[in-house]
Amino acid sequence: MSFDVMQSRPSFPRRLLGFVEANGQEAIILAAIILLFVVVGVVNPRFLGNSNLTSIFSGNAYIAVAAIGMALVIISGNIDVSVGSLIGVLATIAGTLAVNGYPIIVCWLAPLAVGVAINAFVGFLVAYVRIPSIVVTLGMLSVLKGGLISATAGAWINNLPPEFMLAQFRPFGVPAPIYFMVTLTLLAALWMRYSGFGRTIYAIGGNPDAARVTGIRIERSIVCVFMIHGFFAGIAAVLFATQLQVIQSTVPPNLELTVITAAVVGGVSILGGTGTVIGSTLAAILFAAIGSALIFTNVSAYWLRAVQGLFILATVLADMARRRRLR
């Protein structure tokens, strides 16, 4: 019986699956974003207003930037659950330097350097000492979070100099975070496709044994991946720190889960080896759009998390169906 079904014209889900397989998760998310814009736009045209689109795109830009690094980490077959704490620490470093009158460029670059340094250590523990990344970063989560509060005693940072506020610049009327998000995503996407190292990351995540005998220096590559991730976390931290006039010295709640979710929903498989950074950025935008749409459609904010959960589940199921055909 099932024999006949298989022989007949492919059913709709099957064709949809084929579409996803050909165009990837990115296409699905893009379609979801467009659908959301159209539906909510009809309900309330202000949703598509210039200012709202701008805030949707810029509001989650720092999450998108952090998700780029996270995507690389996950593609390489690892994970980082400490990224939220790391961003909190780096933002505080940037703010402290700025308040103490260091040159602005130093304030912007220091978090990148520190992020790279901290994650070089994490990468070292993962690659050379062979502690699973989830364990290392679970530990780092505690260390960074506790350390941050110890060091700052919980004080907020006020009186930031105006020229420090990178995220508030609006060249040509468009907020700076959008430039960062778009440029970094495109650069990272091109780099992942056209650089030798980019392909190496896929190789390590896809088949580490094969990567080793192919002559790839896995340990070094994993350390590099974590360092790049730290670099992106640094940029995200600067965007995060310069968005408002104050910097909270606590870690933004659940930030790591949001970043991981953006990467995963964007089509980065948790099993390693697949995914693109364009998908993760689109997913970050989608989350911002959903949050905004819930307010516009007067859906009780209580159900926001339930909606998000369902959404993650749906995209993951699609991903599993796609992968099953590859194996």
Partner: protein
Amino acid sequence: MYKTMILALGLAVGSGGVAMAQSAWTGGDDLPTSPLACDGAAGAAAAMPYDGGQPTAAPDLKGQKITVVDVPKLIGIGYFNATSKGIADAATELGSVDAKTDGPTKANIDEQITFLDNYITSGVNGILFAANDPVAIAPVLKKALSKGIHVVGYDANSTPDAREWFVNQAQFNGIAKSMIDNMAKEAGEEAAFAIVTSTFTTPNQARWIAEMAAYQAQCHPKMKWLETVEAQEDNVLSFNQATTLINKYGDELKGIFGMTSVATPASAEAVSQGGKCGSIAVVGLATPNAMKPYVEKDCVKSVVLWNPVDLGYAAMYVLRAAIDGDLKPGATSVKAGKLGELQVINGSEVLLGQPYTFTKENIGNFDF
């Protein structure tokens, strides 16, 4: 079989949802409200008998060195930094007090209870607290009382019998009146407004919102309540939510209330970055330092808050007085250093005073 079970879950969840969702939701709690009169005349406060708890067999420590721990809702936010500073100031002033602040990194009852429990074991003489949940915290506080430890709350109360005194920064209805009156003055009697709060589960905020709704309905009936959004204790999320509100309602929106010291500056920033200074009023609870930039450029006219440094300061004095036996059940006032005599209300609460409104003229005088 699985289908049946999933169906059962769905039913359980659904019926639960229906059961709880009878009333329209504004973000307030469902306790009775007691709005003040519109002209501000103090309601006739019936004198209540003392309803606090008392430590059992507390040692006489009058004038001796004591150790005190302060466990706020969470550490790492400006507000509790300020109260902590007040406590430290008072401790220094009083001399023989060794006070420290320690608490969870997120406003979480589970962790707060663990902290309290550990300090009870470590043998402190007095506990200051700001409760994450009035009921949940009660058992552990009662345990402290039973071990002869003096317990005083501030900012967020517990059930009365679980502590001796509570230093009330300002009555809920007083805050509500102040907030709504300021908004009516700035945005007009017919203004439409929205609220940005932390989470719907924080008791103080829920209480204030409920009182605000009651007071607004009674005294400013033409004002329009648009909606309440949740923004955790997260700067950027608060900013995003406020921006979305501005985008959604456009010119209809005349005012935003910030219910926390995180939400208010973020809402002000959203108004400021949206170029809506002057057309959307921001009124809210916040610390002066975070609000100075907006007040100084006239984007925000009034910030409502008691002085949290004073709150901590008063709490420390009340605790010392309780330990020394100077503040006994039935007292009508207590001396609190530079703050002078503070009044006892509602049986076992010490009132800090009226909420303070910071404006452009006076905000420069504060640094917390």
